[in-house]
Symmetry: C2
Subunit: 198 residues, 2 copies
Amino acid sequence: MGTRGLTKEKIVAEAVAYIEHTGQPTISLHELARRLNVKPPSLYNHIQNTKELQYAVFQYAIDHLVAHQKNAVEQLKGDEAVRAFSIAYLAFAAAHKGLYRLIMTMPSEQDEQAKELALPLLELVVDLLSSYGLCADDIAHWQRVLRAILHGFLSQEDLGYFYYYNSIDLEKSRELAVQCFLDGLHTFLNHTVKAEQE
Amino acid sequence: MGTRGLTKEKIVAEAVAYIEHTGQPTISLHELARRLNVKPPSLYNHIQNTKELQYAVFQYAIDHLVAHQKNAVEQLKGDEAVRAFSIAYLAFAAAHKGLYRLIMTMPSEQDEQAKELALPLLELVVDLLSSYGLCADDIAHWQRVLRAILHGFLSQEDLGYFYYYNSIDLEKSRELAVQCFLDGLHTFLNHTVKAEQE
DNA sequence: TTGATAAACTAATGCTATTAGTTTCATAAT
DNA sequence: ATTATGAAACTAATAGCATTAGTTTATCAA
């Protein structure tokens, strides 16, 4: 009993390890305590509640996703950057199922704190689209579209909605989805340019 | 005590009413029993477990969404149909937050039963894209893309990921997303036609 | 050596779902 | 009319979850 070198960092690390291993986005305090050789209430000496733990893991997930994405688009611009970003994004979700599931279930409309934590991801996509010469508003719009496509694809996949037509190549669908975004963006840019010339 | 005219239908109806009212995708048996003036274990005379209840509500949600969508695209074809479908889809999610949340959290990769129930929705989108002259495989791909965009948009919105740049018109983003899909599809069709002519 | 503090503990509460075993009521058969 | 059966309610109990209150222990500084 007494002091055992438990810290918030170790708790979060163990939670992350579990989530990475199982693919589930959460872990119960019971299971977490068991793995740390401690009784559940002891965890409350280091964390406020499960919410705070979730925030910490969410933070970790976002940080890693953002680092992963930054690395993927380094030195790239335009379509090439968008393509690299998309491929990396989808790959991250596949490699870290539990973490991505957390990212895609965690925040809620009212939860300001969680949304703050997710800001870096948004900024990254804004940067990604900055080389197309769009105005700030349009960057905001297209940022939403790109994220909707990528996230929507992953979400449907995860939910099993793409299970039907199983035989049909998922990889090709993904490429088409990304190409669709680029073609849609190009068409928009052409129209915008034309409109400005008149 | 004794018999009170409780049925599975009434239970499901009450669960649906709660979900529609609160916007939450689930209801606890405790709350459900309370609303039906019954003790929680009594519900087990009519349902197997919460899973079965969820299936029933999910079924209801899918049926209504499909009916709503069928009605929206009646008589329409091509881009007009896609646009009407998209607008109606997004409107349904807004009007039935709880039901759509259930649709977007319920099935899981391993749950064959839930995925069966969702099939009509898939078929609807396949029909929607049937007038473009795509081959079966390409319909399957583009069906995925359209659903990814619509669902991804709703999901991000619901999660609060579009909260930033709050001032920027959500409605316009939605229109851009749908237009993006159509432009992407048109570009794809042009390329396909060209390839066939060579 | 002592005393304060941090960090563990036990015990208990209250929320879930669920099961076992019991009672009651309505209906069908005598 | 009476009785018996089965459906549908009940009570009581179990088990898993988060959480709180109150208690003990170990470490570290005075």
